[in-house]
Amino acid sequence: MDETDSRRNFLYIATGAFATVGGGLAAWPLIHQMNPAADVLALASTEVDLSPLAPGQSITVKWRGKPVFIRHRTPEEIELAQAADPDDLKDFQPDSERVQNPEWLIMVGVCTHLGCIPLGQKDTDAKGDWNGWFCPCHGSHYDTSGRIRKGPAPENLQIPEYVFLDETTVKIG
């Protein structure tokens, strides 16, 4: 009796395990189809000509469907960003880690709270208490390095991967 019982149990468990693993494998294509498709991944980089931008001017370009803020910073803004007291920074990062060339601040213009687009690209926009960017949705303030200073956002504005192809051309992504 015992022997047939254990033999039967073994068969139950083995069958059950195969069905579970098989079910999981069959479910994976149904789940993975929702991840970014090959054509979406292929469109992942953008080249931008920076030559028309004078110091103090910004442009917004679209990269992977998201706005990327490119700012030609003025010497005062660079100084402000570099002089920030580390104790004031919620998500500590020195300005030097956020730029390749201090004149050019390039970052993803999506608030790290719930994904709204911060204001501050136009001269007439509200720029927040640190003269950088301000998110109107839930009131996050970013400084001239795009670092979070005040409000509910947990992190600094994200820096995309980019390379300068020459003096005035940058490739994002």
């Binding site: 929702m34 970014p36 469907g65 719930l114 994904g115 709204c116 687009i117 109107p136 947990p154």
Partner: protein, 419 residues
């Protein structure tokens, strides 16, 4: 064998083609047992018992109008907004069908909320109807997802940014948050890929709602309707056949329901909507104030009451999940608030609290709204976690009547069971 004899006994005698079909597929019999003369219903049901059938009607209206809207709708980021405008301007009666669909969703939620408050007041979720309550909550949850995905389809500014903010809630999950969000989006941002899957879900989930609604009614028919006295049916003198008594009563509700819906559609079709949604989606510009539709405002207020991203998401989910525990959190053996003098007052406080949450959700989270929202959120959970169990222990309910018939008919002995 006894079963098949009962079957024969209850069966209507039908002749000709009807009889031929009935012998093979007893659908007349099924309807008769479900909503006909063979379904005994407590004779004291009041108009608060109309909202179940009205919810069913609203679901049918939404599915019919939705199926035809989808014939004209283009689920792409480039085409969606223009196709909705084409429905409004060029498609024959498109404006009517779309307004009925959009306002029908609002009326559907209004009916469901009244249906749920009816359960709270009369203790309908209590033993033995806990699973009827659970199945209703599952329908409610499916309705929220369906309504949210539907709100995104016109691809206006509110559609786009509601989709952005709500899908970004998943980024609150530690470590894998970003991967989950990109999986939801199928992209690195909200775009056509999300719109396509929302369109698919918006079409598929109502099918699930129909399925769960059938199981909801199946479970209901086992122990049948609760009633305003909250006491058990003791015999045929306590009931009336569903048809014609409650089919007629339900039809009165249908008339009022259709008047309200027609009033909205023909006189104020956009009063419940946001003007911003008539601006095409712009991924580079966020509207100043993002709000959901009115029926989700209380949950939005709870989300924002917690100053932490993950905490807010947990509180919002918890506000729905806690409803599943209500049959056990409410420790009182007495169902109806009619006989619970203290609970009756707390019931109305709870109603007021949900209304306050709704108002808070509609306002920008600034100044006093933040603290009011936090207090109202606290009270929402306090009502369920503390007030409901404690009241059951300390409250002394009023004496219950002997039976439904004596309560309804006074001293008249054994009324005629109506045919």
């Amino acid at each position: 064998m006894a079963d098949s004899q009962d079957h024969e006994h209850n069966k209507m005698q039908l002749k000709g083609v009807m009889g031929w079909v009935e012998y093979r597929l007893p659908w007349v019999n099924l309807l008769n047992n479900a909503v006909g003369t063979n379904y005994p219903t407590p004779r004291n049901l009041n108009y608060w018992w109309n909202f179940g059938s009205l919810a069913g009607l609203a679901l049918v209206i939404e599915i019919l109008t939705g199926v035809v809207l989808n014939m004209h709708y283009v689920p792409t980021a480039e085409g969606a907004f223009a196709s909705v405008e084409r429905i409004m301007r060029d498609v024959n009666f498109g404006w009517l069908i779309r307004y009925v669909h959009a306002n029908g969703a609002s009326v559907f939620f209004a009916v469901i909320y009244l249906h749920m408050f009816r359960s709270f007041y009369y203790g309908s979720y209590k033993n033995p109807r806990e699973l009827v309550w659970w199945l209703g909550l599952i329908i409610f949850f499916l309705m929220i997802i369906t309504a949210f995905t539907g709100y995104v389809l016109p691809w206006g500014q509110m559609s786009f940014w509601a989709a952005t903010v709500i899908t970004n809630l998943a980024s609150a999950v530690p470590v894998v948050g970003t991967d989950i969000v990109q999986w939801l989006w199928g992209d690195f941002s909200v775009g056509g890929s999300l719109l396509g899957r929302f369109n698919s879900l918006h079409y598929a989930l109502p099918v699930a709602i129909v399925g769960v609604a059938v199981i909801h009614m199946w479970a209901l028919h086992e122990h049948r309707s609760n009633n305003p006295l909250g006491i058990e049916v003791k015999g045929p003198q306590d009931t009336l056949p569903f048809h014609p008594y409650f089919t007629a009563k339900d039809l009165v509700g249908v008339g009022v329901f259709l008047l309200v819906l027609a009033g909205l559609v023909f006189y104020a079709p956009n009063i419940l909507g946001e003007p911003d949604n008539y601006v095409p989606a712009n991924p580079l510009q966020t509207p100043n104030h993002i709000v959901p539709e009115w029926y989700l405002l209380p949950f939005y207020a709870i989300l924002r009451a917690v100053p932490d991203k993950l905490g807010g998401v947990i509180a919002m989910g918890g506000s729905i999940i806690i409803l599943f525990a209500v049959p056990w959190l409410d420790t009182s053996k007495v169902r109806s608030a009619k006989f619970r003098p203290i609970y009756k007052q707390f019931f109305w406080l709870f109603v007021i609290d949900t209304l306050i949450l709704g108002v808070v959700g509609a306002n920008a989270p600034e100044g006093n709204w933040i603290i009011i929202g936090q207090l109202a959120t606290f009270y929402y959970f306090f009502h369920f976690i503390v007030i409901l169990p404690v009241l059951g222990w300390i409250e002394s309910p009023k004496p219950l009547p002997d039976s439904i018939s004596t309560s309804v008919l006074g001293d008249k002995k054994s009324p005629e069971p109506a045919e």
